[in-house]
Amino acid sequence: MKFGVLALQGDFREHRISLEKLGADVTEVRLPAHLDGLSGLIIPGGESTAIGKLMVAYKLLEPIRQFGKTHAIWGTCAGAILLAKNVGKDQPLLGLMDITIQRNAFGRQIDSFEIDLPVPFLTPPQPDYQLTFIRGPIITEVHGNARPLLSLPDGRIIAAQQGKLLATSFHPELTEDLRFHQYFMELAQSGYAD
Protein backbone atom coordinates (compact mmCIF):
# COMPACT_ATOMS: atom_id res chain seq x y z
CA MET A 1 0.00 0.00 0.00
CA LYS A 2 1.14 3.50 -0.79
CA PHE A 3 1.07 6.13 1.94
CA GLY A 4 1.92 9.80 1.84
CA VAL A 5 3.62 11.98 4.43
CA LEU A 6 3.03 15.72 4.11
CA ALA A 7 6.61 16.99 3.75
CA LEU A 8 6.26 20.76 3.83
CA GLN A 9 7.96 21.10 7.21
CA GLY A 10 8.44 19.11 10.41
CA ASP A 11 9.46 15.58 11.36
CA PHE A 12 8.13 13.89 8.22
CA ARG A 13 11.26 11.75 7.85
CA GLU A 14 10.51 9.96 11.15
CA HIS A 15 6.98 9.10 9.97
CA ARG A 16 8.37 7.89 6.68
CA ILE A 17 10.85 5.60 8.43
CA SER A 18 8.16 4.18 10.75
CA LEU A 19 5.81 3.41 7.82
CA GLU A 20 8.64 1.89 5.79
CA LYS A 21 9.57 -0.39 8.69
CA LEU A 22 6.00 -1.72 8.45
CA GLY A 23 6.45 -2.43 4.76
CA ALA A 24 4.57 0.56 3.31
CA ASP A 25 5.55 2.33 0.11
CA VAL A 26 5.93 6.00 1.14
CA THR A 27 5.69 9.22 -0.91
CA GLU A 28 6.58 12.69 0.36
CA VAL A 29 3.74 15.07 -0.44
CA ARG A 30 4.72 18.67 -1.27
CA LEU A 31 2.34 19.41 -4.15
CA PRO A 32 -1.29 18.36 -4.90
CA ALA A 33 -0.25 15.86 -7.61
CA HIS A 34 1.66 13.86 -4.98
CA LEU A 35 -1.68 12.75 -3.44
CA ASP A 36 -2.52 10.55 -6.43
CA GLY A 37 -2.81 6.87 -5.64
CA LEU A 38 -2.33 7.17 -1.88
CA SER A 39 -4.24 5.02 0.62
CA GLY A 40 -3.60 7.37 3.49
CA LEU A 41 -1.76 10.54 4.51
CA ILE A 42 0.14 11.55 7.65
CA ILE A 43 0.49 15.20 8.62
CA PRO A 44 3.57 15.32 10.86
CA GLY A 45 4.66 17.31 13.86
CA GLY A 46 6.10 20.72 13.13
CA GLU A 47 4.80 24.26 13.37
CA SER A 48 1.13 24.36 12.38
CA THR A 49 1.34 28.01 11.26
CA ALA A 50 4.27 27.30 8.94
CA ILE A 51 2.72 24.12 7.49
CA GLY A 52 -0.66 25.87 7.06
CA LYS A 53 0.95 28.79 5.27
CA LEU A 54 2.73 26.45 2.84
CA MET A 55 -0.49 24.47 2.28
CA VAL A 56 -2.14 27.69 1.17
CA ALA A 57 0.81 28.76 -1.00
CA TYR A 58 0.95 25.41 -2.83
CA LYS A 59 -2.86 24.95 -3.05
CA LEU A 60 -2.96 21.82 -0.91
CA LEU A 61 -5.81 22.71 1.47
CA GLU A 62 -8.74 21.82 -0.81
CA PRO A 63 -7.16 18.67 -2.37
CA ILE A 64 -6.36 17.32 1.13
CA ARG A 65 -9.91 18.14 2.32
CA GLN A 66 -11.30 16.15 -0.62
CA PHE A 67 -8.80 13.33 0.02
CA GLY A 68 -9.89 13.17 3.67
CA LYS A 69 -13.53 12.59 2.73
CA THR A 70 -12.71 9.11 1.50
CA HIS A 71 -9.24 8.31 2.81
CA ALA A 72 -7.40 8.00 6.10
CA ILE A 73 -5.49 10.99 7.47
CA TRP A 74 -3.52 11.04 10.71
CA GLY A 75 -2.23 14.27 12.22
CA THR A 76 0.37 14.28 15.02
CA CYS A 77 0.62 17.47 17.12
CA ALA A 78 0.78 20.21 14.44
CA GLY A 79 -1.01 17.75 12.15
CA ALA A 80 -3.80 17.31 14.71
CA ILE A 81 -4.15 21.10 14.92
CA LEU A 82 -4.50 21.32 11.13
CA LEU A 83 -7.23 18.63 11.14
CA ALA A 84 -9.33 20.50 13.74
CA LYS A 85 -12.32 22.72 12.99
CA ASN A 86 -11.37 25.24 15.66
CA VAL A 87 -8.09 26.16 17.38
CA GLY A 88 -9.05 29.53 18.83
CA LYS A 89 -6.72 31.40 16.50
CA ASP A 90 -7.01 32.65 12.96
CA GLN A 91 -4.71 30.37 10.95
CA PRO A 92 -5.19 28.12 7.88
CA LEU A 93 -6.79 24.78 8.85
CA LEU A 94 -8.17 21.73 7.04
CA GLY A 95 -11.13 21.71 9.46
CA LEU A 96 -11.91 18.06 8.71
CA MET A 97 -12.51 16.87 12.28
CA ASP A 98 -15.25 17.88 14.71
CA ILE A 99 -12.78 18.76 17.43
CA THR A 100 -11.58 21.92 19.16
CA ILE A 101 -7.91 22.15 19.98
CA GLN A 102 -5.95 24.36 22.33
CA ARG A 103 -2.42 24.95 21.06
CA ASN A 104 0.61 24.82 23.40
CA ALA A 105 -1.84 23.70 26.07
CA PHE A 106 0.78 22.44 28.51
CA GLY A 107 2.92 25.60 28.29
CA ARG A 108 6.26 26.33 26.72
CA GLN A 109 9.17 24.01 25.91
CA ILE A 110 10.25 23.60 29.56
CA ASP A 111 6.81 22.03 30.17
CA SER A 112 7.31 19.41 27.45
CA PHE A 113 7.26 15.85 28.79
CA GLU A 114 7.16 12.12 28.15
CA ILE A 115 4.72 9.77 29.83
CA ASP A 116 4.21 6.01 29.65
CA LEU A 117 0.53 5.07 29.48
CA PRO A 118 -1.51 2.00 28.60
CA VAL A 119 -3.15 2.30 25.17
CA PRO A 120 -5.72 -0.52 25.11
CA PHE A 121 -6.72 -0.22 21.43
CA LEU A 122 -3.22 -0.96 20.11
CA THR A 123 -2.09 -4.42 19.11
CA PRO A 124 -0.70 -5.80 21.32
CA PRO A 125 -2.16 -3.60 24.11
CA GLN A 126 0.89 -4.12 26.34
CA PRO A 127 3.46 -2.78 27.20
CA ASP A 128 2.62 0.87 27.98
CA TYR A 129 3.25 3.31 25.14
CA GLN A 130 5.74 6.17 25.54
CA LEU A 131 3.86 9.36 24.62
CA THR A 132 6.01 12.41 23.83
CA PHE A 133 4.46 15.88 24.20
CA ILE A 134 6.45 18.77 22.73
CA ARG A 135 4.73 22.11 23.26
CA GLY A 136 1.76 19.85 22.65
CA PRO A 137 -1.91 20.68 22.12
CA ILE A 138 -4.90 19.14 23.88
CA ILE A 139 -8.30 18.36 22.44
CA THR A 140 -10.71 20.46 24.47
CA GLU A 141 -13.95 19.50 22.71
CA VAL A 142 -15.08 16.49 20.73
CA HIS A 143 -18.47 16.79 19.01
CA GLY A 144 -20.35 15.70 15.89
CA ASN A 145 -18.95 12.49 14.48
CA ALA A 146 -15.66 12.58 16.35
CA ARG A 147 -15.04 10.50 19.45
CA PRO A 148 -12.32 10.68 22.10
CA LEU A 149 -9.77 7.88 21.79
CA LEU A 150 -7.26 8.45 24.57
CA SER A 151 -6.96 10.70 27.62
CA LEU A 152 -4.34 11.57 30.22
CA PRO A 153 -4.97 10.29 33.77
CA ASP A 154 -6.41 13.75 34.60
CA GLY A 155 -9.01 13.37 31.85
CA ARG A 156 -7.61 15.73 29.23
CA ILE A 157 -8.15 14.31 25.75
CA ILE A 158 -4.99 13.64 23.74
CA ALA A 159 -6.32 11.56 20.82
CA ALA A 160 -9.54 11.53 18.83
CA GLN A 161 -10.93 9.66 15.85
CA GLN A 162 -13.62 10.40 13.31
CA GLY A 163 -14.08 7.58 10.83
CA LYS A 164 -10.73 7.27 9.11
CA LEU A 165 -9.41 10.53 10.55
CA LEU A 166 -7.06 10.35 13.52
CA ALA A 167 -5.62 13.17 15.65
CA THR A 168 -2.97 12.73 18.36
CA SER A 169 -1.41 15.44 20.54
CA PHE A 170 1.78 13.42 20.88
CA HIS A 171 4.50 11.99 18.63
CA PRO A 172 4.57 8.20 18.08
CA GLU A 173 7.06 8.86 15.25
CA LEU A 174 9.72 9.84 17.80
CA THR A 175 9.67 6.37 19.34
CA GLU A 176 10.78 3.02 17.99
CA ASP A 177 7.36 1.61 18.89
CA LEU A 178 5.43 1.08 15.65
CA ARG A 179 2.03 0.15 17.13
CA PHE A 180 0.39 3.53 16.39
CA HIS A 181 1.58 3.45 12.77
CA GLN A 182 0.26 -0.11 12.56
CA TYR A 183 -3.10 1.12 13.91
CA PHE A 184 -3.23 3.86 11.27
CA MET A 185 -2.32 1.53 8.41
CA GLU A 186 -5.11 -0.84 9.46
CA LEU A 187 -7.51 2.09 9.70
CA ALA A 188 -6.61 3.11 6.14
CA GLN A 189 -7.37 -0.38 4.89
CA SER A 190 -10.60 -0.75 6.83
CA GLY A 191 -14.05 -0.20 5.33
CA TYR A 192 -14.68 2.38 8.05
CA ALA A 193 -16.66 5.22 6.52
CA ASP A 194 -17.01 8.69 7.97
Binding site: G10, D11, R30, E47, A50, F113, D116
Partner: protein, 295 residues
Protein backbone atom coordinates in the same frame (compact mmCIF):
# COMPACT_ATOMS: atom_id res chain seq x y z
CA UNK B 1 2.61 5.33 34.57
CA UNK B 2 5.93 7.14 34.61
CA UNK B 3 6.46 10.72 33.58
CA UNK B 4 9.68 12.53 32.67
CA UNK B 5 9.99 16.27 32.12
CA UNK B 6 12.89 17.97 30.38
CA UNK B 7 14.68 14.76 29.41
CA UNK B 8 17.02 14.77 26.43
CA UNK B 9 14.23 13.23 24.32
CA UNK B 10 11.96 16.28 24.55
CA UNK B 11 14.89 18.71 24.28
CA UNK B 12 15.99 17.10 21.04
CA UNK B 13 12.36 16.56 20.07
CA UNK B 14 11.57 20.25 19.69
CA UNK B 15 14.43 20.57 17.19
CA UNK B 16 12.95 17.60 15.28
CA UNK B 17 9.72 19.61 14.90
CA UNK B 18 11.62 22.59 13.47
CA UNK B 19 13.17 20.55 10.64
CA UNK B 20 12.58 21.70 7.10
CA UNK B 21 11.86 25.16 8.48
CA UNK B 22 13.39 28.60 8.82
CA UNK B 23 14.31 30.29 12.11
CA UNK B 24 14.54 34.05 11.77
CA UNK B 25 16.42 36.68 13.79
CA UNK B 26 14.08 39.41 15.00
CA UNK B 27 14.74 42.53 17.07
CA UNK B 28 11.17 43.69 17.78
CA UNK B 29 7.75 42.13 18.45
CA UNK B 30 6.58 43.53 15.09
CA UNK B 31 9.36 41.75 13.26
CA UNK B 32 8.48 38.56 15.16
CA UNK B 33 4.89 38.81 13.88
CA UNK B 34 6.15 39.37 10.32
CA UNK B 35 8.39 36.30 10.66
CA UNK B 36 5.52 34.14 12.00
CA UNK B 37 3.18 35.31 9.24
CA UNK B 38 5.85 34.56 6.65
CA UNK B 39 5.98 30.93 7.88
CA UNK B 40 9.01 30.95 10.24
CA UNK B 41 9.06 27.89 12.53
CA UNK B 42 10.70 29.87 15.34
CA UNK B 43 12.24 33.27 15.97
CA UNK B 44 15.54 34.24 17.58
CA UNK B 45 14.93 37.25 19.82
CA UNK B 46 17.87 39.64 19.96
CA UNK B 47 18.66 43.34 20.30
CA UNK B 48 20.75 43.64 17.17
CA UNK B 49 21.19 41.38 14.17
CA UNK B 50 24.77 40.20 13.57
CA UNK B 51 25.40 42.75 10.76
CA UNK B 52 24.67 45.56 13.24
CA UNK B 53 26.72 43.92 15.98
CA UNK B 54 29.63 43.97 13.53
CA UNK B 55 28.99 47.56 12.53
CA UNK B 56 28.64 48.87 16.08
CA UNK B 57 31.50 46.97 17.67
CA UNK B 58 31.79 46.88 21.47
CA UNK B 59 30.59 44.03 23.69
CA UNK B 60 27.52 42.11 22.53
CA UNK B 61 25.50 40.60 25.39
CA UNK B 62 22.24 38.78 26.10
CA UNK B 63 19.18 40.84 25.10
CA UNK B 64 17.09 42.82 27.57
CA UNK B 65 14.58 40.37 29.15
CA UNK B 66 11.82 42.92 28.47
CA UNK B 67 12.41 42.58 24.72
CA UNK B 68 12.52 38.78 24.89
CA UNK B 69 9.24 38.70 26.85
CA UNK B 70 7.52 41.05 24.40
CA UNK B 71 8.53 38.80 21.52
CA UNK B 72 7.32 35.72 23.45
CA UNK B 73 3.95 37.42 23.89
CA UNK B 74 3.69 38.42 20.24
CA UNK B 75 3.93 34.98 18.60
CA UNK B 76 2.68 31.41 19.06
CA UNK B 77 5.80 29.78 17.55
CA UNK B 78 8.86 28.90 19.67
CA UNK B 79 11.13 31.74 20.75
CA UNK B 80 14.89 31.31 21.06
CA UNK B 81 17.37 33.73 22.61
CA UNK B 82 21.16 33.99 22.70
CA UNK B 83 23.55 33.98 25.62
CA UNK B 84 27.30 34.49 25.50
CA UNK B 85 29.60 31.47 25.28
CA UNK B 86 30.27 30.31 28.84
CA UNK B 87 27.88 32.83 30.44
CA UNK B 88 25.76 30.40 32.39
CA UNK B 89 24.03 33.15 34.37
CA UNK B 90 22.67 34.72 31.19
CA UNK B 91 21.42 31.22 30.37
CA UNK B 92 19.79 30.90 33.82
CA UNK B 93 18.01 34.21 33.24
CA UNK B 94 16.77 33.17 29.80
CA UNK B 95 15.56 29.86 31.22
CA UNK B 96 13.63 31.67 33.93
CA UNK B 97 11.91 33.78 31.24
CA UNK B 98 10.66 30.54 29.68
CA UNK B 99 12.34 30.82 26.28
CA UNK B 100 12.00 27.62 24.26
CA UNK B 101 15.66 27.27 23.20
CA UNK B 102 18.92 28.99 24.17
CA UNK B 103 21.61 29.63 21.57
CA UNK B 104 25.04 29.69 23.23
CA UNK B 105 26.30 31.88 20.47
CA UNK B 106 29.57 33.11 19.01
CA UNK B 107 27.63 36.10 17.65
CA UNK B 108 27.83 37.57 21.15
CA UNK B 109 31.15 38.37 22.81
CA UNK B 110 32.38 35.24 24.66
CA UNK B 111 32.31 35.44 28.46
CA UNK B 112 34.71 32.52 28.98
CA UNK B 113 37.77 31.80 26.89
CA UNK B 114 38.12 28.16 27.96
CA UNK B 115 34.77 26.65 28.88
CA UNK B 116 31.31 26.41 27.41
CA UNK B 117 28.18 26.10 29.55
CA UNK B 118 27.32 22.73 31.12
CA UNK B 119 24.06 22.46 29.24
CA UNK B 120 22.99 19.25 30.99
CA UNK B 121 22.30 21.37 34.07
CA UNK B 122 19.40 23.18 32.37
CA UNK B 123 15.78 22.24 31.70
CA UNK B 124 15.67 24.37 28.57
CA UNK B 125 17.40 22.92 25.50
CA UNK B 126 20.44 24.53 23.85
CA UNK B 127 21.60 24.97 20.27
CA UNK B 128 25.30 25.60 19.56
CA UNK B 129 27.44 26.38 16.52
CA UNK B 130 30.09 24.14 14.98
CA UNK B 131 32.68 24.27 12.23
CA UNK B 132 33.50 20.57 12.21
CA UNK B 133 32.44 17.22 13.67
CA UNK B 134 34.76 17.38 16.68
CA UNK B 135 33.32 20.72 17.76
CA UNK B 136 29.75 19.47 17.23
CA UNK B 137 30.37 16.39 19.38
CA UNK B 138 32.06 18.41 22.14
CA UNK B 139 28.95 20.62 22.33
CA UNK B 140 26.62 17.60 22.28
CA UNK B 141 28.79 16.06 25.01
CA UNK B 142 28.13 19.21 27.08
CA UNK B 143 24.39 18.75 26.54
CA UNK B 144 23.48 20.66 23.35
CA UNK B 145 20.26 19.20 21.87
CA UNK B 146 20.58 20.88 18.46
CA UNK B 147 23.51 22.02 16.31
CA UNK B 148 24.00 24.59 13.57
CA UNK B 149 26.92 25.50 11.38
CA UNK B 150 28.64 28.67 12.53
CA UNK B 151 29.11 30.13 9.08
CA UNK B 152 30.18 33.76 9.27
CA UNK B 153 27.24 35.69 10.75
CA UNK B 154 26.30 39.15 9.54
CA UNK B 155 28.21 38.91 6.27
CA UNK B 156 25.56 37.70 3.81
CA UNK B 157 28.36 35.47 2.46
CA UNK B 158 27.38 31.79 2.49
CA UNK B 159 30.90 30.45 1.90
CA UNK B 160 31.72 29.68 5.54
CA UNK B 161 28.38 27.93 6.18
CA UNK B 162 29.11 25.78 3.13
CA UNK B 163 32.62 25.03 4.39
CA UNK B 164 31.33 24.04 7.84
CA UNK B 165 28.48 21.85 6.53
CA UNK B 166 30.76 20.13 4.02
CA UNK B 167 33.37 19.54 6.72
CA UNK B 168 30.88 18.02 9.19
CA UNK B 169 29.26 15.68 6.64
CA UNK B 170 32.55 14.65 5.06
CA UNK B 171 33.96 13.81 8.51
CA UNK B 172 30.82 11.77 9.27
CA UNK B 173 31.26 9.77 6.04
CA UNK B 174 34.93 9.23 6.90
CA UNK B 175 34.07 8.05 10.43
CA UNK B 176 31.50 5.62 9.03
CA UNK B 177 34.16 4.04 6.84
CA UNK B 178 36.56 3.38 9.74
CA UNK B 179 37.03 -0.05 11.31
CA UNK B 180 36.27 -0.06 15.03
CA UNK B 181 39.91 -0.09 16.12
CA UNK B 182 40.51 3.27 14.41
CA UNK B 183 37.65 5.11 16.12
CA UNK B 184 39.58 5.94 19.31
CA UNK B 185 42.32 7.63 17.32
CA UNK B 186 39.68 9.48 15.30
CA UNK B 187 38.18 10.67 18.61
CA UNK B 188 41.61 11.78 19.82
CA UNK B 189 42.52 13.56 16.58
CA UNK B 190 39.18 15.35 16.45
CA UNK B 191 38.98 16.08 20.18
CA UNK B 192 35.59 14.42 20.25
CA UNK B 193 33.99 12.18 22.92
CA UNK B 194 34.59 8.53 21.97
CA UNK B 195 31.06 7.32 22.80
CA UNK B 196 29.56 9.99 20.54
CA UNK B 197 31.97 9.01 17.74
CA UNK B 198 30.66 5.44 18.03
CA UNK B 199 27.09 6.73 17.87
CA UNK B 200 27.73 8.85 14.76
CA UNK B 201 29.49 5.94 13.06
CA UNK B 202 26.42 3.79 13.70
CA UNK B 203 23.82 6.43 12.70
CA UNK B 204 25.69 7.92 9.75
CA UNK B 205 24.55 11.29 11.05
CA UNK B 206 24.77 13.56 14.07
CA UNK B 207 22.65 12.33 16.99
CA UNK B 208 20.79 15.70 17.00
CA UNK B 209 19.24 17.97 14.37
CA UNK B 210 21.70 20.22 12.50
CA UNK B 211 20.70 23.52 10.87
CA UNK B 212 22.70 25.89 8.67
CA UNK B 213 23.47 29.38 9.94
CA UNK B 214 25.80 32.27 9.21
CA UNK B 215 25.63 34.16 5.94
CA UNK B 216 22.42 32.86 4.35
CA UNK B 217 20.85 35.73 2.40
CA UNK B 218 18.86 34.31 -0.53
CA UNK B 219 16.40 31.48 -1.28
CA UNK B 220 19.14 29.87 -3.35
CA UNK B 221 21.52 29.98 -0.37
CA UNK B 222 18.89 28.22 1.78
CA UNK B 223 18.28 25.53 -0.86
CA UNK B 224 22.04 25.05 -1.32
CA UNK B 225 22.47 24.34 2.39
CA UNK B 226 19.48 21.97 2.38
CA UNK B 227 20.91 20.06 -0.59
CA UNK B 228 24.21 19.80 1.27
CA UNK B 229 22.31 17.88 3.95
CA UNK B 230 21.34 20.25 6.78
CA UNK B 231 17.93 19.86 8.44
CA UNK B 232 16.82 23.50 8.30
CA UNK B 233 17.91 27.13 8.13
CA UNK B 234 18.69 30.05 10.43
CA UNK B 235 18.54 33.45 8.76
CA UNK B 236 20.01 36.29 10.75
CA UNK B 237 20.64 39.62 9.09
CA UNK B 238 19.58 38.32 5.66
CA UNK B 239 15.87 39.10 6.03
CA UNK B 240 15.45 42.37 7.91
CA UNK B 241 18.59 43.89 6.32
CA UNK B 242 17.15 43.33 2.83
CA UNK B 243 15.01 45.65 0.70
CA UNK B 244 11.71 43.73 1.12
CA UNK B 245 11.81 41.61 4.31
CA UNK B 246 8.27 40.15 4.00
CA UNK B 247 8.79 38.92 0.47
CA UNK B 248 12.27 37.61 1.15
CA UNK B 249 11.18 35.82 4.34
CA UNK B 250 8.36 34.05 2.48
CA UNK B 251 10.68 33.17 -0.38
CA UNK B 252 13.31 31.64 1.93
CA UNK B 253 10.59 29.59 3.69
CA UNK B 254 9.36 28.23 0.34
CA UNK B 255 12.91 27.55 -0.86
CA UNK B 256 13.64 25.55 2.30
CA UNK B 257 10.63 23.28 1.64
CA UNK B 258 11.10 22.95 -2.13
CA UNK B 259 14.91 22.91 -2.06
CA UNK B 260 15.05 20.22 -4.72
CA UNK B 261 12.74 21.93 -7.24
CA UNK B 262 14.71 24.43 -9.38
CA UNK B 263 11.49 25.62 -11.09
CA UNK B 264 9.96 26.63 -7.75
CA UNK B 265 13.28 28.15 -6.62
CA UNK B 266 13.34 30.28 -9.77
CA UNK B 267 9.76 31.39 -9.14
CA UNK B 268 10.34 32.41 -5.51
CA UNK B 269 13.62 34.17 -6.36
CA UNK B 270 11.97 36.60 -8.78
CA UNK B 271 11.70 40.31 -7.92
CA UNK B 272 12.85 40.03 -4.31
CA UNK B 273 14.42 43.47 -4.29
CA UNK B 274 17.84 44.18 -2.82
CA UNK B 275 19.57 41.46 -0.83
CA UNK B 276 21.55 42.61 2.19
CA UNK B 277 24.72 44.37 1.12
CA UNK B 278 27.14 41.89 2.58
CA UNK B 279 30.87 41.53 3.15
CA UNK B 280 33.24 38.88 1.92
CA UNK B 281 33.67 36.43 4.80
CA UNK B 282 37.08 35.27 3.58
CA UNK B 283 38.48 38.81 3.58
CA UNK B 284 37.49 39.66 7.15
CA UNK B 285 40.43 40.49 9.41
CA UNK B 286 41.13 37.64 11.85
CA UNK B 287 39.88 39.61 14.86
CA UNK B 288 36.50 40.18 13.21
CA UNK B 289 35.76 36.50 12.58
CA UNK B 290 32.95 35.32 14.84
CA UNK B 291 33.32 31.70 13.73
CA UNK B 292 36.67 31.40 15.53
CA UNK B 293 34.96 32.03 18.87
CA UNK B 294 34.23 28.84 20.83
CA UNK B 295 36.54 25.99 21.88
Amino acid sequence: MTQEKNGFGVKKGLAEMLKGGVIMDVVTADQAKIAEDAGAVAVMALERVPADIRAMGGIARMSDPELVLKIMEAVSIPVMAKCRIGHFVEAQILESLGVDYIDESEVLTPADEAYHINKHAFKVPFVCGCKNLGEALRRIGEGAAMMRTKGEPGTGDVVEAVRHARTVYSQIRHLQSLPLEEVMTFAKDNQAPYELCLQVRELGNLPVVNFAAGGIATPADAALMMQLGVDGIFVGSGIFKSGDPVKRAEAIVKATTHYNEPGILAEVSRNLGEAMVGRSATQLPENEKMSDRGW
